[in-house]
């Protein structure tokens, strides 16, 4: 299949290894990956913070860049959620019927990585090898906005050599919430504190998720505490093989 990669702006900028992992993984599974270089940002931060007029140019841009793609795959449940759930609203707000129509046509072709693998391709074992102790944090948007269900766990359970430990109170928000972490920094910290306690209780080496945005939040605090626990996007585990990591 010809897969267009929507890397998302912060993966592109801060977590390029996640994007590389997606490319390696999809190519290993026999797909052709293309990266439309005109892509930038989905506009979620603007939209969810209330700057909805300012998000509309970014919505238009995304639709323009990906309108002819066979499928669009992204290693971010949150940005996929933005496209799927909020682009129709944004188009409505823009009062642009043409845009609304394009959005409607595009949405069924936009997938988060793990749902693409499990639900679209029907693959649960990607032949990965990762000899580490890992705990999985189901991010809010993967769980409740785009409902990837247990797709990430199905994939992780088939990774060889890996010890997967259940995260207590896994389904609770880590307190990121985009600009929430800044606007309501104190409440966000209280939420994050509890999440960290749960992560540390698992004695895992890595906390894994399908969203680097939440991982940037959890990982930023783990790093600050010098906790000795890393963060890893699920794509980077799935891309690793016995012949050596993908990196």
């Amino acid at each position: 299949m010809q897969v267009s990669l929507f890397i998302t702006c912060f993966n592109d900028t801060i977590f390029p290894k996640t994007g590389q992992a997606v490319v390696h993984l999809l190519e290993r599974l026999g797909h052709v990956v293309d990266f439309p270089a005109d892509q930038t940002c989905c506009g979620q931060m603007h939209y969810n913070t209330g700057y909805q007029r300012e998000a509309i140019p970014l919505v238009r841009r995304f639709v323009e860049v990906f309108r002819d793609s066979e499928v669009v795959v992204s290693p971010s449940a949150s940005c996929v959620g933005m496209v799927r759930e909020l682009y129709p609203r944004a188009a409505e707000l823009a009062g642009d019927h043409e845009l609304a129509k394009c959005v409607e046509h595009l949405i069924p072709r936009v997938f988060e990585l793990t749902e693409f693998l499990v639900q679209k391709l029907g693959i649960e074992d990607v032949g990965a090898y990762f000899p580490h102790r890992v705990t999985y944090h189901p991010t809010c948007h993967s769980l409740r906005m785009i409902s990837v269900g247990d797709a990430p766990l199905r994939l992780l359970r088939n990774v060889r050599g890996m010890e997967l430990v259940t995260l207590p109170r896994a389904e609770e928000c880590c307190g990121f919430g985009g600009t929430f972490a800044v606007k309501n920094a104190d409440t966000s910290m209280a939420m994050l504190g509890d999440k960290l306690r749960c992560v540390l209780d698992t004695r895992a080496e890595y906390c894994v998720a399908a969203d680097n945005s939440c991982l940037m939040h959890i990982g930023g605090a783990l790093h600050r505490q010098r906790a000795g626990v890393g963060i890893l996007h699920i794509a980077e585990i799935l891309a690793s093989t016995e012949k050596g990591g993908h990196r």
Binding site: D12, P16, F35, R61, C140, F180, S188, H223
Partner: protein, 477 residues
């Protein structure tokens, strides 16, 4: 400070009120324990019903249709109540509702009323309004009584004293109810309240209630409760006044099939609540001799006018969204500065009073979506929160207030401009990579200026990568 059940001006911001609450260790422990317990109870009884999702759909559909034809159903309800011997009053706002209730009580020459726990009467500040006229309102719900005796405010729509534990309540009862040597056993505390309330039930001539549901078809009002004190108020006094928000209407008696399954399971985590009372007008020789229904607007028509926001009016006040909310669990209800706290409060309050008067509330959420998932009538709370954030920003942009520069607004505008073009976007990445050199320590940024400092108070920032993904991609091909 004057009691303000709903904010009427841009006042204390949520983030500031939350900061104080977060430091209260007793509150944090009480809230954590209470919300975790009730969450678990709810999960068990919801799991039991194989058709739970279908019930939610039905609940939403009934509310949607009712709200769409609210005008017709309200007139039908009025006619039904009058037919059954009740009187109907229409109140545009809190002041009008309070005047109506006061004059009914004064006509009865009563100086005291007993009350069933009611958010709607809290919303209009009825107790305070009555007190100004020399009428004392006695709360008969145990938790409301606790809050009233403490001169405190409710912090949860169903469990008003959720922020208090039993030893705090023991101390309060010893001080206020003339007891000494009370233990902090719940049974003992309940008995003390019971003795106090029984005297009131038998002597006070007027009762005031809210309404969980009002049936347009029959004129029946319904109250759902746990203690039975509500039923005392509904049956013993000679005059009963019920104040109902206009959105609490349901078309027909058969709709209870849906709502009486949804409500108890969502709110207290019970299959059925202990007491469900229905009354239709008046019946000779049984119960109150006069019944008054006050239909309250108080901003609801304005909510109705907003096609996205109006779903807030579907709320049946179960409080499942409060109990599941990770923000509410940690801040408690007082931080919301409204009789409607938690996620539902964050979308209802700004709509009732205008977003300018509660502009921080739509931001009091991480948009985690847990509230939407548990809502028995499928109110898409995150959707409304985002919609209201848009209104807050548009209001700010279209009517700027004098003061310093709007740093956030400028930054958002700049990023929108920069990200709308590939070249500009790539330039921002490169400038960031150079600029961060001054701030990076040990591979991360540990201090950011201004509001962004809230992030680095606890979290390091991972910097722009030495090679972005797009740079890797173009080097690769």
């Amino acid at each position: 400070m004057k009691y303000e059940p709903l904010p009427t001006r841009p006042g204390i911001r949520f983030e500031d009120a939350a900061r104080a609450a977060l430091d209260n260790t007793q509150l944090r422990r009480n809230m954590g324990k209470a919300t975790q317990t009730i969450r678990a109870k709810r999960a068990v009884v919801v799991e039991e019903l194989p058709d739970w999702q279908a019930l939610r759909e039905a609940g939403r559909a009934i509310k949607e249709r009712t709200i769409r034809h609210l005008d017709q159903y309200l007139l039908e309800l009025e006619a039904s109540v009058q037919r059954a011997g009740g009187q109907v009053h229409w109140a545009r706002d809190a002041a009008e509702a309070n005047r109506i209730v006061t004059s009914i009580i004064q006509a009865e020459k009563a100086h005291e009323v007993i009350k069933i726990k009611s958010l709607t009467t809290d919303e209009i500040g009825l107790n305070e309004a009555l007190l100004e006229e020399g009428i004392e309102a006695v709360e008969t719900d145990l938790a409301e009584l606790i809050v009233q005796l403490a001169g405190d405010r409710s912090s949860h729509i169903l469990v008003p004293a959720i922020h208090k534990n039993r030893s705090e309540i023991r101390d309060l009862f010893q001080r206020k109810l003339g007891h000494s040597n009370l233990s902090d056993e719940p049974k003992v505390l309940a008995a003390a309240a019971r003795a106090h309330l029984r005297r009131k039930f038998l002597t006070v001539p007027v009762a005031v209630s809210g309404a969980n549901f009002g049936v347009a078809e029959t004129g029946t009002i319904c109250i759902v409760e746990s203690e039975g004190n509500g039923r005392m108020c509904l049956t013993l006094p000679r005059v009963l006044i019920s104040i109902m928000g206009i959105e609490k209407i349901i078309p027909a008696w058969r709709d209870f099939e849906v709502f009486l399954q949804l409500l108890p399971r969502s709110s207290t985590g019970e299959r059925m609540n202990p007491y469900t009372s229905f009354w239709t007008g008046v019946a000779p020789g049984d119960g109150p001799r006069a019944f008054h229904l006050v239909l309250l607007d108080n901003g609801r028509s304005r909510v109705l006018a907003d096609p996205v926001g109006r779903q807030a009016l579907y709320c049946i006040r179960c409080s499942a969204c409060l109990n599941i909310c990770p923000v509410y669990e940690r801040t408690g209800g007082h931080a919301y500065h409204s009789v409607y706290p938690g996620p539902i409060g964050a979308i209802l309050t700004p709509q009732l009073v205008g977003v300018a008067n509660a502009s921080s509330l739509p931001y009091a959420s991480s948009l985690c979506g847990a509230c939407y998932e548990v809502c028995p009538v499928k109110i898409n709370i995150p959707e409304v929160l985002i919609h209201l954030r848009g209104e807050v920003v548009r209001e700010k942009q279209d009517h700027p207030t004098p003061g310093g520069p709007d740093v956030e607004g400028l930054a958002m505008k700049f990023l929108s401009y920069a990200f709308s073009d590939r070249k500009r976007y790539e330039r921002v990445q490169k400038v960031g990579r150079v600029g961060q050199r001054l701030m990076t320590r040990g591979g991360v940024i540990d201090r950011l200026p201004g509001q962004l400092g809230g992030w680095t108070a606890m979290r390091d920032v991972f910097p722009v990568a030495p090679q972005t993904f797009r740079e890797w991609w173009s080097a690769r091909s």
